[in-house]
Symmetry: C3
């Protein structure tokens, strides 16, 4: 029995395999502060007990994206340690608020396998589920990654591609308390669900430059141990030449940047699709813009759903780009994220 | 209604305007640890429950400067997002100890406006007040910033400059518990109020080098979203060419550095005046020296007041400079901070 | 009386001196999160209440190495502020688990003094002891450092070298609760005490690159104020030319890296000897390998002891080096750590 794990290769996965990822993690106030410091998040819901109580919570819930990184991070060692690329996300659904003191763990199921024609790699489709210490489902996500093969000479020809929904259904349960009237002087935004229109574009003005210590601190905090983020010595010999920034960190930075324009959209309902269109490295400055894709008539009186596409850019302001694609219909070299997600946005409430 | 806020310009302010800054923030143990890691603070009062209890507290109070950064940080989005320069501070008064679990928020009043003769900018004078969740005033500060105008062709000629006190009055309330005898073997200093003399100069020997990740983590922790600190892509086109370090971070570093010489001066009574004489950038090493300006006879038996001037330097030791000014009576190019503040210093207590 | 402390020089120490180090420090959840973010530690015992409870604890104990850094860090100001080199460790014994909320302080005794023949420095041997707020001993360590003399012309000729044990005795008390069966699907490792063999070598595959912000944040968190770690301006004029990374940070990184191979060895019994063979600087990538030196038959049914040598490397993988020594029996230039320590490893337990 080898004592050193070298992670799973494409041949190690079988359709239907269930994996219990180790290393449950209790979330603390230290994580909350670090998440704010690492991402620049300014949503008061996650940072202020008084605000959370005014909205309808007993205390601050954790940021949905922080939970995403924790649940995702736990799956890396068994799923994507030998990944060549993270190809995409789908059906990411935020199910349950979590709080400081909760313990998060992850399980995964292999839902698809496709050997690539070059014989050197294959795509692994995985359905990961995050649980809290009461075994309540807090978050589900599907993703697919290109994983190295151990032996390129042996072909299995497997091609089991799962059907992935293009968008989450709009009628999934929304486990929020009844949301009270939001006070713009506290939330930092006076925009509510009724204020947005399909097709409108928000050019978020802020830019955040990433340095090596902050993105590596973030990935280590999430216990995401993918080597490409940490090992400059190894990466020098790769085509990228340097450490690659964890794509989830880019999602978090775009979320912080989009606070100016989406400041009352405090909750993620889900992520419908996500692509890291180009890599990011230390020194890059991240910008983003958002397009409102759909407003979904709410069943609840207090909140509505809003489908949004956020395009993350490096070293280019939103004003400098019209569409994320170049003349060959490929992503523009400065586009680093194409995220299709659904936000929960509070509705206007009259004074009662 | 524009959905993107581009911050306030000089024309947006009116004398007497009151602004409730959004984003109340609950302070946690994560903030305390990060503040220590980011600044190198070594005051046991803020880091040790046993020490705080021996001094007279129920538990560790927060560092006064951490609260300053939080209260200040909350005011940036509405006051100084379009600032060209932070010109000064006055009448910063620390009113009330805060503890982990408290929620901090800020309100401001516009107390002065002066259009600059070039028509391109004006100075905004603001009085900001920090409150805890019980609406108790924890901290007040006045500052003035040079803010861009939207339209340089329209002149208002406004010139309403408030009278700012050169120093806080010495008889403001001091909301500390009765301070017990300080044990030098625990506090790290055997110097008490009686040990200092007016005019004496302390050349603090330590130097701390700043890197980009640590100063940006600090500013993000305080939710200070001034663009000049974060956006290297934008700053490349500015005369500075790179990200400017948040001036408050320099104040905190000088406070940590001055522990060697002022280690028992655990509390700030207030800041009388402060100037960021030159900018600091990643890679700069901060040093400082302090001059005792005034010893104020205490009303209390346990503590006295001590007015101190601390000069922050970059890439130059205190031994290498005699006064902060050059031969043209301008700040020496290596002077980065001129801080006039009043410390609360414990008096000698005999064994009882 | 000088108000500025310039630290102790060789002449300031006397055999038998007892030093109470100041600055007791309450450990918080913020420290736990920062330790994970700074080191990449993945031991679930320190990060998960549910895991700790399944193992036999009431809640997460602190990482032994975090406590080592805290106890060590408190001793720097009085012992090694003027150190030229940290020469070694011995008899480091972890005595007692600590928890969030505990307050740590350090005392030291001078147990040896040896003037060096060049007259410029001497070696100081110190026995440091860490206590919690109940005055329980949590950690003892011996170390020796080369400290500058004030005056090289005056010779004392002192040569009192203490006898240091080459290894901790195997029968020291082990203050752990009775350890329940470890679940590999939670701990991340299926290797138990019985699975290791003397002489076997584990080439841990991970590498972690260090940047300036992360190692300086770590040292500041531990309130270790040794100037060589922080002051680039001073270090430019030294032979090293740049800031030297705190050796304890390298130990922590090697511990994180060796998780892959030693994942169930959650506890340190002690450190028998340790040498920082070469300096490390920002930009270096740390790797390591481990050799099992001794398996010590446990008195307890639940855990055994395992003596391990871990060799830390910079910018070189374990596969590229056979022994830590070069042809002149000196440490290879890429070896940065030679650590001889004893781990507590759970034994196999049948299902009951």
């Amino acid at each position: 029995m080898p004592k050193i794990s070298s992670g799973n290769f494409f041949e190690d996965f079988n359709l239907g395999d269930r994996i219990i990822h180790p290393l449950p993690r209790t979330v603390t106030d230290g994580d909350v502060s670090l998440y704010i410091a690492l991402t620049g998040s300014r949503y008061a819901l996650h940072a202020s007990d008084t605000f959370a109580q005014a909205v309808g919570y007993e205390r601050r819930p954790l940021d949905d994206l922080f939970l995403f990184h924790m649940v995702f991070g736990k799956s890396v060692n068994e799923i994507s340690l030998n990944a060549i690329a993270n190809l995409g996300y789908a059906e990411v659904h935020f199910r349950q608020p979590c709080y400081v003191g909760d313990t998060v763990r992850t399980e995964s199921e292999i839902i698809g396998l496709k050997e690539n024609s070059n014989g050197k790699s294959g795509n692994v489709y995985v359905h990961s589920q995050g649980y809290n210490q009461r075994e309540e489902l807090i978050l589900t996500l599907k993703r697919w990654v290109m994983v190295r093969k151990k032996d390129s000479s042996i072909r299995s020809g497997i091609k089991e591609i799962p059907v992935l929904q293009k968008a989450l259904p709009a009628d999934l349960p929304i486990n929020l308390p009844v949301i009270s009237k939001i006070e713009p002087s506290l939330s930092g935004s006076n925009l509510f669900w009724e204020d947005y229109s399909v097709g409108e574009r928000l050019n978020h003005p802020d830019g955040i430059t990433i340095d090596n210590s902050d993105h590596t601190l973030a990935a280590k905090l999430y216990q995401n141990n993918a080597k490409i983020h940490f090992n400059a010595h190894m990466m020098q010999k790769s085509p990228m030449r340097e450490r690659l920034i964890y794509g989830g960190h880019i999602i978090s930075l775009c979320r912080s940047i989009s606070f100016n324009g989406l400041g009352n959209a405090m909750w993620l309902y889900g992520i419908n699709a996500g692509t890291h269109a180009n890599p990011t490295f230390a020194g890059d400055t991240i910008y983003c813009y958002s397009i409102i894709k759909e407003l979904i008539a709410p069943k609840r009186d207090d909140v509505g759903l809003m489908k949004v596409q956020t395009i993350g850019l490096k070293n280019m302001t939103p004003e400098e780009i019209e569409t994320p694609f170049d003349e060959h219909s490929k992503y523009h070299a400065n586009v680093v994220l194409d995220l299709d997600y659904t936000l929960i946005v509070p509705k206007k409430q009259d004074n009662k």
